[in-house]
């Protein structure tokens, strides 16, 4: 099984709450290959809950992912005390499997609280694994709020790709 799907299964087994956001989240909303973007990163948005974060770390360990924060291996022991510190700092934990998989466990989604995103999520199926995914409008609004160069590039290309979904008579004129 795909390494990401194995991780999702492990997260579900530990009842970890998470929502897939970012470009991979947007990809699951695609309705044709023309709206799918190549990306390595899977961004998982987690609530600021130390027990939940600890569960996520344990799940990552179980499927063989290496954990790091700020480019350094995550300290050990990986216990509730450490999870509380990470939550307080709203720091990002990165989980990686060689060059096969990169997952960011983030406690921050620009412009949104976790509970809002969780409440409105979609649950898509991928090879019989249930993937909680943020609403497309939430993903796009968050990227618009963050407004980093990579977000702007995504928004511009995503807008162009979605334009083709509109009936011809409703399409705006192409940018010259």
């Amino acid at each position: 099984m795909d390494a990401f799907l194995s991780l999702v299964n492990a997260l579900h087994a530990r009842e970890v709450r998470f929502v897939l956001i970012g470009v991979w989240g947007a990809n699951y909303h695609a309705q044709s290959a023309a709206v799918v973007f190549t990306t390595q990163d899977h961004d998982l948005f987690l609530p600021p809950d130390p027990k939940n974060l600890l569960g996520a770390w344990t799940a990552c360990d179980e499927v063989g992912l290496e954990l790091s924060t700020s480019a350094e291996p995550l300290d050990r022991p990986r216990d509730l005390w450490l999870a509380e510190r990470i939550v307080r700092l709203r720091a990002l934990t990165r989980a990686a499997l060689a060059d096969e998989l990169l997952v960011d466990l983030t406690l921050v989604m620009a412009g949104f609280e976790f509970e809002t995103v969780w409440r409105d999520r979609r649950t898509f199926r991928d090879q019989e694994v249930e993937i909680p995914v943020a609403r497309l409008s939430h993903i796009v609004a968050s990227k618009a709020t963050a407004g980093r160069p990579k977000d702007r590039l995504f928004l511009e290309t995503h807008k162009e790709a979605l334009r083709d979904l509109l009936p011809k008579e409703e399409r705006p004129p192409e940018a010259s």
Partner: protein, 71 residues
């Protein structure tokens, strides 16, 4: 060059030609309308099988991994 690729490259050019400011971006009404359309579609509801998304990305990665420089 096919029209979709041409439009994508033009979009990248537009972004590259302008300074790269950071900060909130205002989303235009046509884009928001397209998003609304996606979200109301039957293909964007919970329970839908999206396995094809991962498959085409994997195929794309495999394709580029096999690429060899000629000449």
């Amino acid at each position: 060059m096919d029209p979709e690729t041409k439009r994508a490259l033009e979009a990248i050019d537009r972004v590259c030609e302008t300074p790269t400011p950071t900060g909130p971006v205002e989303l235009d009404p046509d884009y928001l309308k397209a998003i609304e359309r996606v979200e109301s579609s039957a293909l964007d509801q919970s329970g839908v099988d999206k396995s094809w998304v991962r498959k085409i990305l994997q195929e794309s990665r495999d394709h580029w991994r096999r690429a060899r420089l000629l000449g």
